[in-house]
């Protein structure tokens, strides 16, 4: 199946026709609702909050934020940003409660520092990996977006961005950009390895009640496995350290070098590079 990201820029792809189809399809609505609820679980908001909806589209996820019952901490007030005028037009017709902005998230997030309690984004930020003109780059757009988002969240705030990366390069480009902006970042993957796999980039701004690292976000959630890539990366780093002068690996390397130069080199044995015993 072709990716809409490869076809056209978002403001042109979601024209009147596509926006209407997107909003009326019951399949898309269900998927969006599931993802929004999952994101709300991860945000773990206890009281009515001010939320930024990045790439709000026609307000499918915003509706859920407005209608959240008070037992679950809602209803929340939200402000939505989207680049597609047609999508916002559909949102107007559907009479959503949130405030809407026509804005390009790749140009930054134009809000005062510490404005929002949380941010949510459903199927939007992979669009940042496209640059439509030669004077902008995906890296620059990602950087401006995440820096703006980081500033506009209050300390201790969280952001959950569900996104569809094209490949692993995009995935690490997006999470790397978030970490560079200062976020604590982790990726939650639902149904990994299947066609329905969904990626959630979970971001935290320091100073909140969160104890320890990002994995604290999923504490108390059932069926979530924590895969810590940091430990493995560290072990790998340690094992790979450069050979010390004088140890066996270093001697073997040197002997190889000499042999390639055509010098006469003694053949290797189990005694090569061994320490001599102290002589009495």
């Amino acid at each position: 199946m072709s990716r809409p990201e490869d076809v056209l820029p978002p403001d042109l792809f979601y024209n009147d026709n596509e926006s209407r189809k997107y909003t009326t399809s019951s399949r898309i609505r269900n998927i969006q609702a599931d993802m929004t609820n999952r994101a709300l679980d991860l945000l773990d908001l206890k009281a009515p909050s001010l939320i930024l909806d990045v790439g709000c589209g026609s307000g499918l996820s915003g509706e859920i934020l407005s209608d959240l019952p008070s037992e679950e901490g809602g209803p929340h007030t939200w402000i939505g940003m989207d680049i597609s005028p047609s999508m916002l037009d559909v949102a107007l017709q559907r009479d959503v409660e949130g405030d809407l902005f026509l804005a390009d998230i790749g140009q930054g997030v134009p809000f005062r520092p510490g404005t929002f309690d949380a941010a949510i984004s459903i199927s939007a930020i992979q669009w940042l990996c496209n640059a439509e003109t030669s004077d902008v780059s995906p890296e620059g757009r990602l950087r401006r977006f995440f820096e703006g988002l980081y500033a506009s969240l209050r300390r201790g705030g969280r952001a959950v961005c569900q996104f569809y990366p094209k490949n692993d390069t995009q995935r690490s480009m997006i999470s790397g950009a978030a970490m560079k902006a200062g976020f604590g970042a982790g990726i939650l993957e639902d149904d990994p390895g299947t066609k329905n796999s969904k990626l959630y980039l979970v971001l935290t701004v320091g100073g909140g009640g969160l104890q320890g690292d990002i994995t604290g976000v999923v504490n108390g959630m059932d069926d979530v496995n924590v895969l810590d890539a940091r430990k493995r990366a560290m072990e790998l780093n340690n094992a790979k350290g450069p050979p010390q002068k004088g140890d066996r690996a270093w001697i073997m390397k040197k002997k190889d070098q000499m042999e390639r130069k055509g010098k006469v080199v003694k053949s290797n044995s189990k005694y090569t590079g061994r320490k001599r015993r102290p002589a009495f």
């Binding site: 402000i79 005028p85 107007l92 405030d99 140009q107 930054g108 134009p110 809000f111 404005t115």
Partner: protein, 146 residues
């Protein structure tokens, strides 16, 4: 655009971020509308510490509500139902449907149509003079919203 949003939004131009005159953005030719919304005292209490009261007074003045108190209600005043009701009415229920927001620093105009503010910037922004930028903005304005 709700008044509460106007209290948080700043100019999108990068150079304006550091200038104190870029906040709050100033309303011009604003057409207002009242929209009934459910009153949520907890939300108002939660948001009040983050409201820039000076900015809110400026905005309210521009929109024709001069009766705002000098200082932000704090402490005991937050338990007064009437105060919260009034704030709810101003912050949440008052909306600007048409008009424009103007940055006090660079003079950039953000058009508001049907309650949606257009914060798309032309890519060359900050290098050309401001009159040209506005023309580009208008040329770029989406047709479906007009």
């Amino acid at each position: 655009m709700k008044v509460i949003t106007a209290n948080f939004v700043t100019c999108a131009v990068k150079e304006c971020k550091t200038s104190p005159t870029s906040f709050p953005l100033h309303f011009h030719d604003a057409e207002l509308e009242q929209q009934e919304l459910n009153f949520q005292p907890e939300f108002i209490r939660n948001i009040i510490p983050r409201i820039d009261w000076e900015g809110l007074r400026v905005t309210a003045n521009e929109l024709g509500f001069p009766s705002l108190p000098e200082s932000k209600p704090e402490g005991e005043a937050l338990n007064n139902e009437q105060t919260l009701q009034d704030l709810h009415r101003l912050l949440m229920e008052t909306q600007v449907m048409e008009g424009k927001l103007i940055c006090g620093n660079c003079g950039h105009e953000y058009m508001i149509k049907e309650g949606i503010a257009n914060f798309l910037l032309p890519s060359h922004l900050g290098k050309r003079n401001i009159i040209n930028q506005q023309e580009v903005m208008l040329a770029n304005a989406p047709s479906s919203l007009s």
